[in-house]
């Protein structure tokens, strides 16, 4: 990705169309690698969910569905603002690009804030795998050691997702500064478009994580 103010054709491309198509295909291939990256851990989660349905259901009932649902809404809204940012860029509305990128960054930060609150609650309630792991009100007939496995995977999956959000927030800051300087025009705004794909991808990962972690059998044992 080039970030100069005008349309820049790099020396090895024949024309701008070829350059743009290369960026776009490159981004899709990158997202494919991301799917495989998350896929490995999803696979592990599903395998153990299948093996230990009761203790996983009991452990997942310890999650706060309300906070999770709020985060889902926040993230979907951020995808909307991101799509609007790309749309504004295509129309060359420079001020609107900045506005929508800032809105996306704001919503992303709200998501991370709520996630921090959830993590904090897990520490307070001794639901973090390790020496201090003893969830309260645990059903007697359900194996507690498997709950540790659940929370290990919960932190692994949501942590991996959150780290993608944090990287995304950093890139958003960069884009906002650039957009503010008028770097993106109707003719050339490839970075905004490519980042949009990334942001939607991270959103979609959460769309899968939320039901898998929070919504299967949430009232188990209650």
């Amino acid at each position: 990705m080039d970030s100069h103010g005008t349309t820049v054709l790099r020396h090895h491309f024949e024309n701008e169309e070829q350059q743009k198509e290369a960026s776009s295909l490159g981004m899709w291939v990158f997202l494919l690698t991301e799917i495989m990256f998350f896929g490995g851990m999803f696979m592990a989660y599903l395998a153990y969910r299948q093996l230990y349905p009761d203790s996983f259901a009991a452990a997942s009932s310890k999650l706060d569905v309300t906070l999770g649902a709020m985060n889902t809404v926040v993230l979907i809204c951020s995808s909307l603002t991101m799509a609007m940012a790309v749309h504004s860029a295509a129309l060359g509305k420079q001020k609107m690009i900045v506005f929508y990128l800032v809105a996306t960054l704001f919503l992303g930060s709200v998501f991370l804030g709520i996630k921090t609150k959830e993590y904090h609650d897990k520490f307070v309630h001794h639901e973090v795998p390790g020496a201090d792991f003893h969830p309260e009100d645990w059903p007697k007939n359900v194996d507690m050691s498997h709950a540790s496995l659940y929370f290990g995977l919960y932190f692994g999956l949501t942590g991996l997702h959150a780290s993608h959000m944090i990287i995304g927030a950093g890139m958003l800051l960069f884009l906002i500064v650039k957009a503010h300087r008028g770097a993106y025009t109707a003719e050339w705004h490839t970075p905004v478009e490519m980042f949009g794909l990334y942001w939607h991808f991270v959103d979609i990962v959460w769309i899968f994580l939320f039901p898998l972690l929070y919504l299967i059998d949430p009232h188990f044992g209650k």
């Binding site: 592990a44 540790s148 692994g156 991996l160």
Partner: protein, 541 residues
């Protein structure tokens, strides 16, 4: 045959276009990056070779007198890690592929030159971690990092080694990503998919495996790190975890990774067999699609590494059958190569000697793979020297022979210099003989029941082990000689000219060494690849 205008005589090429360390370390020229990779992987090849030498030295005697068992464990582990992750996986794609794919498709560079340079730096950082592990005491888990040993018991540098491999993986991903986009979007006008050189097809298939497989091993290593650092229980039976899950995740990448190593070599062989037979490859389309088929089926066979790891018999049967299926596209290639030779005008040049050696050794490696893919036979052969011999026939007899073949074929293009013909042929024969002497006895050892990864063995196995160690000496010399004469040729070699072999590819239509931009005018392709007419072969040297 090409409507491209021939580039005018120019004094500057990519080697003379800027001097000094900075012009190399900050380059975005795919050819220079290929040379940077070539230097780095050669370095790691010799490091890995030293470990191999220590292993063979130790095994020359049955009583394990040279190395402590702990040290021996580290030797074979470091040999595997260095050779696989830091030599074999980047070997052909990052050097020959990087150098040749843009000129082969009529492009000035890869689609993302800066990402290409970044991939080299990532590789170097991963390599530094590995060197750190090596200097501070090594790691003893085997290159496979099997749990629970790697997560709960080993007290060696598992974390640092895992981090090194994790990082190096991203270099491989970025190379694959760059190749896929380049091959899709940067082809010259008229260069349709079925006019592409088979080397490009092979690298395309390889890149598919790199982008789909490598992220999975990355996340697996992440899980091992979480398990080792935080004890979340994912591979620990005491907490309900399952060590076999690690094997599934690991081999989901690491079996296809074997095809990352062998597919580019197959691409090289297709080029060379065609060039030195003066014939269009027999069944071009079949060879092209067999590369893709190997990449696809390669993802469906990982379970054949788990026949004795508590996998269900049903799953074992499915994986056994799928493993047999991979033999079909592999055999298609071998048959098509030999059919290309038939009634061809064959020249036994140095690259051709390596290529013919490749076909023989790969065939043995592939056929013994069928033994291991059959459930009953595998129970007898699991974790014996039969397995060691099998995968060395594929990865050394196959992948490295292909790499050396390609290096000898394109060395005149890359450097503009010719190497001494006699010495190179002597070395090629030495590598072939030394290799067979090293690894053929290991099939017998394995069949007789000698397990792998032990530094002591019953005295009756000594004769085969001595043969193997003697062969390793010949093989080692066979690798050293090319290193010396190729270095020598840089200064003293004869000028090779643009097309010393009379080959047809686009890369041979430009000067040697190529100018920085490869082509002054983008070529327009109007014919299929490998249109050999009644050309005379020119032997140089």
């Amino acid at each position: 045959m090409l409507t491209a205008t021939k580039p005018p005589e120019k004094s500057t090429n990519y080697l003379t276009d800027g001097y000094g360390l900075k012009s190399w370390l900050l380059t975005s020229d795919h050819k220079r990056i290929a040379i940077l990779y070539l230097i780095s992987i050669t370095f790691f090849f010799f490091i890995g070779g030293i470990f191999a030498a220590m292993i063979r030295l130790e095994l020359a005697t049955p009583d394990g007198g040279l190395l402590e068992s702990d040290v021996y464990n580290k030797m074979f582990t470091m040999h595997g890690i260095v050779m696989i992750f830091f030599f074999l996986i980047p070997s052909i794609p990052a050097t020959l592929g990087n150098f040749l794919i843009p000129p082969m498709i009529g492009a000035k560079d890869l689609a993302f030159p800066k990402i290409n340079l970044l991939s080299w730096y990532i590789y170097v950082v991963g390599g530094i971690f590995t060197l750190y592990v090596l200097i501070t005491g090594g790691v003893d888990t085997g290159w496979t990092f099997y749990t629970p040993f790697s997560t709960s018991y080993s007290n060696t540098k598992v974390m640092a080694a895992a981090v090194g491999i994790f990082i190096a993986g991203f270099s491989s991903i970025l190379t694959g990503l760059n190749f896929i986009v380049t091959i899709h979007r940067m082809r010259a006008p008229g260069l349709s998919w079925f006019r592409l050189p088979l080397f490009v097809w092979a690298n395309y298939a390889t890149a598919m495996i790199q982008i789909l497989g490598t992220p999975v091993v990355a996340v697996t290593i992440l899980l091992v790190a979480m398990e080792r650092g935080l004890h979340i229980g994912i591979f620990d039976p005491a907490l309900g975890g399952d060590p076999v899950l690690f094997q599934h995740l690991f081999w989901f990448y690491s079996h296809p990774a074997v095809y990352i190593m062998i597919l580019p070599s197959m691409g090289v062989i297709s080029e060379i067999i065609s060039t030195f037979s003066r014939r269009k490859p027999f069944g071009y389309t079949f060879i092209a699609f067999s590369s893709v088929a190997i990449a696809v089926f390669g993802f469906l066979v990982w379970g054949h590494h788990l026949f004795v790891s508590s996998q269900s018999v049903y799953a074992g049967m499915v994986f056994s059958v799928l493993s047999y299926i991979v033999a079909i596209p592999s055999a298609i290639k071998v048959f098509n190569w030999t059919a290309t030779l038939y009634k061809g005008s064959v020249t036994l040049s140095t690259p051709m000697l390596y290529a013919i050696g490749f076909i023989g050794l790969f065939t043995i490696g592939g056929l013994t793979g069928l033994f291991l893919a059959s459930l009953g036979m595998d129970v007898h052969l699991t974790d014996t020297y039969f397995v060691v011999a099998h995968f060395h026939y594929v990865m050394v007899g196959g992948a490295i022979m292909g790499y050396l073949s390609g290096l000898h074929f394109w060395w005149p293009k890359m450097t503009g210099k010719m190497y001494p013909v006699l010495w190179s042929k002597v070395a090629a024969v030495m590598v072939f003989l030394g290799f067979n002497l090293t690894f053929f006895p290991q099939f017998i050892l394995g069949y007789l029941g000698m397990p792998r990864r032990y530094h002591v063995y019953p005295p009756e196995f000594q004769v085969y082990n001595v043969l193997s160690s003697a062969g390793a000496t010949v093989l080692g010399l066979g690798y050293l000689i090319p290193f010396i004469y190729l270095m020598w040729s840089l200064k003293y070699g004869k000028d090779a000219g643009p097309n010393p072999w009379g080959a047809t590819g686009l890369e041979w239509q430009i000067p040697s060494p190529p100018p920085t931009a490869n082509f002054d005018v983008t070529p327009v392709v109007t014919v299929e690849a490998y249109e050999y007419h009644a050309q005379e072969v020119v032997e140089v040297g």
